[in-house]
């Protein structure tokens, strides 16, 4: 009786400790988000004088101005288009390559893999100018395709590295079974490898979606027309050269954060789904 009581209290107190720790971290994570949302309802004069998280007056106009006057809709759609294209491109191209690096043998495999790894490390400063001239020569400057290809390249190395690490960890038995059943290599990649790598694919999707969603410098440099610009470019103009309209900026930032948060909510389910698969595979 006594020992079981002891274990019970011990378990409860450990749980309480864990929850206290998790809650403390969670509060620091939530505060900036709430502050951003609260600020988006304030006015330029009250944003720094009234520091409470619940504004005394809600100025919904900030959102209206951000959406209506700044042609947010157009930029928003552009951003969605670029993000989806780039992420799909990266998922396909990098998972094919990572699968080959993990499973197949071919001459130069290590050299290629190390090359991708090295590329991940070496940032090219002034690569914007180089990319600009390159796209100009390829007649891809000022086109969505040029931008998408550049952005796929940006996320490629890291994604290959992430995926290869997880492919290496995955058991090969299911693939062997599929091969015996007469499945082609491409078929195994599509029907077996990809489904099993759900959790890491979700990470790759979120990682690259966030990178594309927040990118603006390359877009600003290679596009000459407003109609092709992504959302972040519009947000940068809210942050004025001298005068920053903070509430408007916060409204814009809040709107811009919503799709990424939704995407994450969807994707994190796949990270949990991995549990059941692991069980089946094992």
């Amino acid at each position: 009786m006594n020992t079981s009581f002891y274990y019970k209290t011990k378990k409860i107190s450990i749980n309480v400790l864990i929850h206290a720790f998790l809650l403390a971290v969670a509060v620091t994570c939530l505060f900036p988000l709430l502050w951003m949302i609260a600020s988006s309802f304030k006015t330029q004069e009250t944003i720094f004088s009234d520091i409470s998280l619940i504004p005394k007056q809600f100025h919904f106009m900030n959102y209206w101005i951000a959406i209506k006057e700044c042609d947010f809709g157009r930029y928003f759609l552009n951003s969605i288009f670029y993000t989806v294209s780039v992420v799909c491109g990266i998922v396909i191209v990098s998972s094919l390559a990572a699968y080959a690096f993990s499973r197949f043998k071919f001459p130069g495999k290590n050299i290629f893999f190390y090359m991708f790894m090295a590329a991940m490390m070496i940032p090219i400063p002034g690569s914007f100018v180089a990319l600009y001239i390159l796209l100009n020569k390829l007649h891809l400057r000022n086109t969505p395709l040029g931008y998408i290809l550049c952005m796929i390249n940006v996320g490629l190395s890291t994604s290959i590295f992430l995926l290869k690490t997880f492919f290496d960890k995955m058991p090969k038995e299911l693939e062997d079974a599929a091969r015996i059943d007469g499945c082609s290599k491409l078929g195994i990649w599509w029907h077996v490898a990809l489904p099993l790598s759900g959790p890491v694919l979700a990470v790759v999707v979120v990682f690259n979606a966030l990178a594309v969603w927040n990118e603006y410098i390359l877009a600003l440099i290679i596009f000459d027309t407003k109609t092709s610009m992504p959302l972040q470019v519009a947000l940068q103009t809210f942050q004025g050269e001298f005068v920053t309209n903070y509430p408007l900026l916060m409204a814009g930032l809040t709107i811009a954060a919503v799709p990424i948060i939704i995407l994450y909510l969807v994707m994190q389910k796949y990270i949990i789904k991995g549990v059941t698969q692991g069980a089946v595979v094992g």
């Binding site: 914007f128 990809l194 940068q236 103009t237 001298f242 389910k269």
Partner: protein
Amino acid sequence: MIGGIKNFKGVLVFSLLTLASINLAGCSSQPSTQAKGKSISVWHWMTDRQTAFEELAKRYEAATGVKVNFELYAPSDAYSQKVRAAAQGINLPDIFGILGEKRDFSSFIKAGHILDLTSYMNENDQAWRNIFFPKALALNEFNEDNSYGINTGTYGVPIDIMTIQMLYNKDLFKQLGLDPEKPPVTFQEFIDIGKKIKETKLQGMVSGWGEVWMIDCLANNYAFNIMGKDKVLATIRGEVSYTDPDWIEVLGLFEKMRNSGVLSDGLISMVNKTAEQLFANGKAVFAFNGSWCVNVYKGMNPNLNYASMLPPKVSDKYPMAIWGGAGSSFMVNARGQNKEEAVKFLKWFSARDQQTYLSEKTNNLSANKECVGSISEVLSQFAKSMDFATHPNIWGVSEFPAVIEALDKGIQTIILGEKTPEQVAAEVQKVKVRELDKKKNK
């Protein structure tokens, strides 16, 4: 087993299909950038003026039938990269602005990107030239003896002027027991106020000294006051050492300011936007800022009771100098297909009525001296101090960037209390000698 993941793949296929369709639509609706008919494109970075620019473009189209597209690219760093990239690809628009020092400006001219406007300025008895404040135009001019090797001439159209000086909060002056109409005139008076500020919870002077160029600006102001323009320029030419007692005195001023409490605590980790918030919200007694701040403070706190003042002088030997001149300028693309149209537009754009509109809309000082816009009192104070204005870009020589960096960083370490003025002077001079040697060896 893999039901969930089948969804995943479904999503993938679905998005690819959707994309394919959007992409097709996107391609077909792509507007042609080479629109027929007359149209001029302008690139700029001035976020707060885009609306006013667009309105002026509308008026111009109504008057002449020529369409002007103002394309805004912000922030200015990204804009700067875009212009440089476009220059490499020979894709610059008809009209654009350049951010950077005179050296960069001269490189753009050498590379053949910028049209020499001298002949247009001089037409009809210098009619166009005469509408500008000479000091505003000076930033866009290269004189006969310039060290950049550029042909004498005018290469840009100034659209506004700015000066950088000190501001003080009148209400806080009263609170400190000071006369709000009598800002400190001498450096000693300024330092003494610092002692009073120290006793209160107020902040002293705020400014964007985290980004170093504004430190450089104040140091130069005092160098002019202590040793005069000729000696400053002689230092830049390498004829006077930075270890000269006059320069050590300049550096020593920062140590004095630091010790007196007249500087705000977090001054050297401050960006200008933070400094502006603090001053606008009445938390800081002094600010060191450019004339653009009038518009900023108006937006943050319309009731702010403040005035501008010259930096308090140290010596009576030479006049105090502040930085000022053209704020922003437009250049015409020498390779553009609409050069003549672009020049015509800029003539119209810089004329009195348009400049009056722009000045009133954006609280900027126009470069056009005939501009009659009603401006606020503080802004007119800034305008009056134009008499004291100078700018590195009109000196005809430039200091090596590495030396400027060593000086600015050195002043930061003085304010941090890590180094003495003598140490910093010696370090700066070391960099100077190194750079001079490098230049000789080329």
